[in-house]
Each structure stands twice: as C-alpha cells, then as structure tokens.
C-alpha cells in the first residue's frame, strides 16, 4: 500500500518499451546533444594572465595607504587598526613629528614604522573600517603568490604608501 499520494507514483515501475530497451536511439540523441556543445557553445574559459574577470567594487585585495589632498600621509598612528585586527598582523611604531617632516603629516604623531604581515592577514577589511582618518584601504591588487622568499610578505609602509599624485606601484 502506498503511504501517501506521491508514493503511488514513485513506487510505479514503468515498463520500458522495446525502443527504449534498444538504447541506441537514446545514445544517438545523447551524441547529438554533445555535438551541439562541441560545435555551437562557446568556451567559458577565461584565459587568465591575458584575460581577467572584472572584480567587485568592494573587493578586498592588498593594503594601500592614502595621502590627503595636500599630499600628506593620512595615518596618524592612532593604533585603531592594530586594535581591531583579528589576525594581529599590523605592527605600528609611532613617533613625534618634528622639523623637516612637519609638512608631510597633518598631526603631531606619525607612524615611523607601519608593517603588515601579509601571511597572517585574513583580508577581512576591519582595519579599513576602523581607520578614523581614511588612511588604509584594501584595494584591487590580488596577485600575491610567490615562492622561496618569505620576507617579501612583510609589507612595509614604503611599499603601501601612495606616492604623491600617483597610484601605488604594486610589487610582490
């Protein structure tokens, strides 16, 4: 006895007709379907180094440090990013702004050392969210693979900082 309405259909074993049991018509049909793919469907392959897929506007790639409209470093070494970092990959050493470098920094304090350990970073973007000065962003660069030399994965301030008037030159 069928337990419910659907079971009545499920339990029914359909007898295959003679043509069905020959299998050959079905095989020919299947071969026409594959041939259709062979001849008419375009390949979905993206040939990577030459061709790239567009990235999302909020994509989180490698870190970039910004300058303000007067060309000064925005970062004031407030440690907000370091506190918010769940991977604890940010290392900041603050110093006082004196003498010559005064017109390079908006406040009295600046980050003498600002390092990110890329191998620890999980690219969550919390540093970017926490920054009150809009100084750090995770931008579109994502080709971070390398071999052999792990020192390359310690991202220093010099490598992250925008040069004046120009976008950051990516390395790694």
């Amino acid at each position: 006895m069928a337990i419910n309405v659907r079971a009545k259909y499920l339990n029914k074993t359909e007898e295959m007709s003679f043509i069905d049991r020959l299998y050959l018509p079905a095989i020919v049909k299947g071969m026409f379907i594959t041939m259709k793919h062979f001849l008419f469907t375009k390949a979905y392959t993206v040939e990577y180094p030459e061709e790239r897929k567009p990235i999302a506007p909020r994509f989180r790639g490698r870190h970039v440090m910004k300058r303000d409209e007067m060309g000064r470093e925005r970062c004031t070494a407030c440690y907000c990013c370091q506190y918010s970092c769940p991977a604890e990959c940010i290392n900041i050493e603050a110093a006082e702004v004196t003498g010559d470098i005064r017109n390079n920094h908006p406040e009295d304090k600046y980050a003498r050392v600002f390092e990110i350990e890329l191998l620890r970073c999980i690219f969550c973007g919390f540093c970017q969210e926490a920054c009150p000065k809009a100084a750090i962003y995770l931008e579109e660069f994502y080709e971070l693979a390398d071999y052999d030399d792990r020192s390359k994965y310690l991202l220093t301030k010099k490598e992250m900082m925008e040069t004046e008037g120009k976008p950051v030159k990516y390395r790694v």
């Binding site: 095989i27 299947g30 071969m31 379907i33 594959t34 793919h37 062979f38 469907t41």
Partner: protein, 346 residues
C-alpha cells in the same frame, strides 16, 4: 642492384614509415582527445604549447622521459618491466596487415601500401590483438597493487568475452567477401557505397562496433581503468615512460580499431561514387589519394570514439557481462546464421 635487395629496402622503408606514422598519430591523439574533450565540455583545453597547443605531445613526451623511473619495492621487477614492453609491441604488430591504400609504383615495380598482404590478414590481427591481454595482466599483477590487479582482471575478462562476439560478427563479413585478406575485403566493397558492409551487414556492424569499443577499453566500457573506483586500473603503479608506453599503446589500439572499422565496414580507401581507376590519374597519384581517403575515414572513427567517450556514462561490471554474453553474442550468432543462409541461397 640485385632484385632481393630492392625488395628488402622497400619493405624496410614501408615498415619504418608505417610505424612512424602510427606513433606520431597516437601521440597527436592524446592532444586531440584533450582538446576535443574540452570542446565537448565548453572549455578550451591545452592551447599554450605552440599554436593551438600543437607542441603539447612533444612537451608531454619530454616530461615523461625526464621523470624518475620508479619501480615499486614489492613489485616483480622483471614482469613489471615486461608488461608495458609487451603491450606496446603487440599493439604495433597488427599494423603489419592493415593496408593504408592501394598500390603505387616505385623503382618500376608495383608496391602494395601494406607491410605484408597476408591471406589470413584479419585472422592474424585478431590473434595478435588477443595476446594484448597479457600485457595488461602481467603489468597489473606485477605491480603488486590491489587496484592494478582488479583493473587487470576486469580488463582481461572484458577482452576475452567481447573477442568472441567480435570474431563471430567478423565471420559474417568473411562469408560475404570470401577472403580473410584485408585487401580482398576492401576490394569486395569497391563497386559502390551500397556494397559497403555497413549497409550489407547493419546488425553485424553494430555488434562489431560495440565489441571493438569494449576491446579498446574505452568509455562506456572503461571498467578496467574506472577512475572513480580503481584510480586508473592496471597501470596505477606505472610512472614516467612506462606509463607513456601504456597510454601510447592504448591510443594505437584505438587507431587500429578505427582502421578495422574502416576497412571491414566502410570500404577502406574507396571514395563513394568515384572510381579512382577510371579517372585517368597516374598510379602513384591514385595511390596517394587512396592513402588520404583511408586516413580521413580512420580519423573520423577516432573522433567518433572520442565523441562517444564524452557522451556515455560507464557500464557496471554485471551490465557489461550481460550485454556481452546475453545480448551481443546471440545477435552475432543470428547475424552469422542469416548471412550464411542468404549467402547459400543467392
């Protein structure tokens, strides 16, 4: 020069040319299979080495030769090495009897484009290819690996059961052509495309095609190397050039199968509705055209094999045995009996 020296030189040249063509072709089937497979799956396939990836076989070959030769610790060393050697040798031998084309005239004598025109050509080919099981069995057993052994057992069981069906399907063809020589079978089909055995023997053709698909160990009968269950079956433990030898011989078997279909059922080098002899071409040009026609037809069937591979799923072991013994064998017998009766009456 003495007559016999010329004979030997021509034979040698033919042999070398044949094996060169076959090995090169087999190497390029590896590329063809990969690229066609990707077209069937809406991909591009290997296209980086050379234009359209045409240097890929070369790159693969270099890779296979450079790799470390590993022999498993508990393998039977002698048999482990014998396996691939035997397999590739046996895969190449049937080509002695396959005619690539009609005759040409070299140094004032007629040369058949065939290494030897045996009067038992097909029988010889089937006899040799049935020894191929030993290459698989020895390789699978000597690796001392359960997957290899299982693959080898499956493969040999499959080869043995489908050989019978294939032989009986062929017997009907022999009845019609009245000869076992490959050349005579082709010439018997020459009159018109309606004399091609595929139209005279449609049932026999289907049986033969399915059996030869099983003989070449290809999808849907690739139980011997079922990746999902047995890794790759009997050559699981083989690496580097020994693996390449197994792969190459499987592809050579594929070409052999296609050539067999061409010459037995599709009129060999005959062009439909065109009689090369009456066009008034020189003998050598006609011979060259016949070679091209034969290669094109064979190449088409190689493509059909690849096409089938990317269409059908794999059979289960019991389904395979069922199909072989309970369906194809009776069909082949009925076909043989019917052909015999008709041949007797007509």
């Amino acid at each position: 020069m003495e007559e016999w020296i010329i004979d030997i030189l021509i034979s040698l040249a033919k042999t070398l040319a044949f094996f060169g063509v076959i090995l090169l072709w087999a190497a390029y089937i590896t590329l063809g299979e990969r690229r066609f497979a990707s077209f069937f799956q809406n991909r591009l396939g290997p296209n980086r080495a050379g234009i359209f990836g045409l240097l890929q076989p070369l790159a693969d070959g270099i890779k296979f030769m450079m790799k470390e030769e590993i022999i498993p610790k508990n393998a039977n060393r002698a048999f482990y090495l014998l396996g691939p050697t035997l397999f590739i040798t046996i895969a190449l031998i049937p080509w002695a009897a396959i005619p690539f084309g009609d005759t040409v005239v070299i140094a004032g004598r007629e040369v058949k484009l065939q290494i030897v025109d045996l009067n038992v050509g097909i029988l010889f080919m089937i006899a040799v290819s049935s020894i191929g099981v030993y290459g698989i069995m020895i390789g699978g057993w000597a690796s001392n690996n359960k997957y290899s052994l299982l693959g080898a057992i499956r493969s040999s069981a499959q080869l043995i059961s489908y050989e019978i069906t294939m032989g009986i399907a062929l017997a009907a063809v022999f009845l019609l052509s009245g000869s076992l020589s490959t050349r005579d079978i082709i010439i018997a089909q020459m009159q018109s495309p309606w004399h091609w055995n595929v139209f005279v023997q449609p049932l026999g053709f289907i049986v033969f095609f399915v059996s030869i698909l099983a003989e070449t160990n290809r999808v849907p009968f690739d139980l011997a190397e079922a990746e999902s269950e047995l890794i790759v079956g009997y050559h699981t433990e083989y690496g580097a050039f020994k693996f390449a030898m197994y792969m190459l011989s499987e592809y050579i078997n594929l070409i052999t199968a296609s050539a067999l279909i061409t010459l037995l059922y599709f009129g060999g080098w005959g062009i439909p509705f065109v009689d090369l002899g009456r066009l008034g071409l020189s003998v050598n040009l006609a011979g060259l055209i016949s070679v091209i026609v034969f290669l094109v037809k064979t190449g088409f069937f190689v493509f059909v094999f690849i096409w089938i591979r990317w269409t059908l799923p794999r059979f289960r072991y019991d389904q395979l045995m069922n199909l072989g013994w309970k369906i194809l064998l009776p069909l082949a017998l009925v076909n043989l009996f019917g052909t015999a009766v008709v041949a007797l009456l007509v």
